[in-house]
Subunit: 333 residues, 2 copies
């Protein structure tokens, strides 16, 4: 008997099944019964059949992995979202791998392309800056979170950021604040919050003051608040577009010799781990990003292996809520 | 003629090239002309030459991607490390993808296995808890950072955490502190810092007080400091094992009605973006994790496509430095 490595044909003969069934087992196709799967794996083991990864890929390009693109590892807004994504992927045995928009900045490539090069089964886009990406017809992509621009035809699951902006502003108005500053940056969620906050400030009769512009979220919060307090010393409240900006805002209030919340109230947005930390105890909007992640991943799973339908993309909004902690109070006097 | 698997020498003879040129083709070295590459691949195919990695190359399944396992997205210590990794991968056109130790907790799989399933070319391990993983002989793995246990035979690049622990403790001793508390958690870097801090405290004649034990870094910092201040009100300084713990420590000092640094000095470790934030302005140890990432990735690149050598694993230590900001001062009185 010639010494040669066993092939898929040998395994099929030993297990008494077709070659294509062996191939299905080797690529972990869920459409194989447990009994036949066990028979094939037993035959493979007896023969010493060692499919290398190349064989797996030749047999089928599925990796049973979902890729997710997040925007910035310095802002932990995405941590709750990942919890929701995991919860949705678990029943399907799907793996998760991550790329941030900076991960391959050294190559000048798009994080979407990078994940597609890994032959992921589907992609969740939870970042700006991928609107120009070409979405391949055979790999489902779902957008998680509000974005300025979205590649055409994609489903979007996002928190209702406009509602979040209204919750934060209405909380400050209800406490009696009439001199509110909104500190914000770029990006889709921020734009939606800003529009809603400005609308509410105008409706209440207060002048809509919007500051921003630093290179990072925290410097935007710090510099925006510092300038706002210098130019408008009547300011009694700051709504920061995210929790990291709120950290910067609190630092600017303290550096101006004022106290939070006695002199200036501060509200954040995102309900990151920072917000509940004992150093901040930040009043913030909870966008329920865990729910955004869960729904986006469930939508993606539903699209896996289904040909593009050409139907109108779905848009799902999750209702946010307000979490009141220690950084807001009525204005003095 | 006995039937034996063809070797790299057979391929070189058939293609009329040197053995090292075949080796270059098999590791996808960009310095091979297209014509010679085609000749080598044709010879390999005719002979049925199929080593694992060569098979992957022949099948076109190399992903030219390096995977990195990080431990916890809530602690941004890894952000500077990623900058260093990117800098090292850039000249080689290698992509980067991430997994955290929780990414696939829903599947009960190891993040190392998950990355290998994506057919990455190599893996950087920057997390605990993967010591039991089976490291395949054909995929290089390098450990980035000090770890309690490391899979056998792997190269390690880490900051000299013991030196960092000495820097922090010596800074407090030099300011005149004699009642220093160390707040710490589990994990390899923490263990090295703790041993060094305790050694320095003992050498200086102060009682080595070590607190810890919360479920997260921040709660460990908060609860550890809270208990330390209650049980040892003479405490004038806290060395926290990382910047996130230091955030918790500062909150506990303030909640005890004390001020940082007037009443209690606080030192962190990691030089995360948190440390330089205007809310913290934290005195901390910079482990130079960007340099750790750069050296670990360079080592990994050097191992790509090279058979496991069986030589002793390398251990490279990067010297840390101290960054003095606003949270440390001499003790009062």
């Amino acid at each position: 008997m010639p010494h040669r490595p066993p092939t898929i044909i040998d395994v099929a003969a030993r297990a008494g099944v077709s070659k294509s069934l062996v191939s299905m087992v080797m690529r972990d196709d869920p459409g194989v019964s447990a009994a036949r799967r066990a028979a094939v794996l037993a035959a493979a083991e007896e023969l010493g059949y060692r499919p290398n990864r190349a064989a797996a890929i030749l047999a089928g390009t599925r990796t049973r992995t979902v890729g997710i693109v997040v925007d910035d590892f310095r802002n932990p807004w995405f941590v709750p979202m990942l919890d929701g994504v995991r919860a949705a992927l678990a029943p399907h045995g799907l793996r998760l791998t991550l790329a941030d928009t900076q991960a391959n900045a050294h190559l000048g490539t798009s994080p979407l392309d990078d994940l597609l090069a890994l032959r992921v089964d589907g992609v969740l886009l939870a970042a700006e800056g991928v609107a120009d990406s070409v979405v391949p017809p055979d790999t489902p992509v779902v957008v998680a979170g509000e974005r300025v621009t979205v590649p055409a035809g994609l489903d979007v699951v996002a928190s209702d950021e406009a509602a979040g902006g209204r919750l934060a502003t209405d909380h400050l108005l209800a406490l009696g604040h009439r001199h509110i500053v909104h500190v914000t940056g770029s990006g889709g969620p921020a734009a939606a919050r800003r529009a809603a906050a400005v609308e509410r400030m105008v409706a209440s009769g207060s002048a809509p003051l919007v500051y921003g512009g630093g290179p990072t979220a925290e410097s935007t919060g710090y510099e925006g608040t510092r300038r706002a307090l210098a130019e408008h010393p009547e300011t009694t409240a700051v709504f920061a577009a995210n929790d990291v900006m709120a950290m910067g805002a609190i630092a600017a209030v303290r550096d101006a010799g004022l106290r939070v919340p006695e002199d200036v109230s501060v509200v954040g947005n995102d309900e990151t781990p920072l917000a509940s930390s004992p150093l901040l105890r930040l009043t913030t909007v909870d966008p329920h990003n865990d729910e955004v992640g869960r729904l986006a991943a469930e939508r993606l799973v539903a699209l896996l292996g289904v040909p593009a339908s050409g139907t109108s993309p779905m848009r799902t909004l999750v209702a946010p809520s307000l979490v009141v902690r220690s950084t807001t109070a009525p204005p003095r006097g």
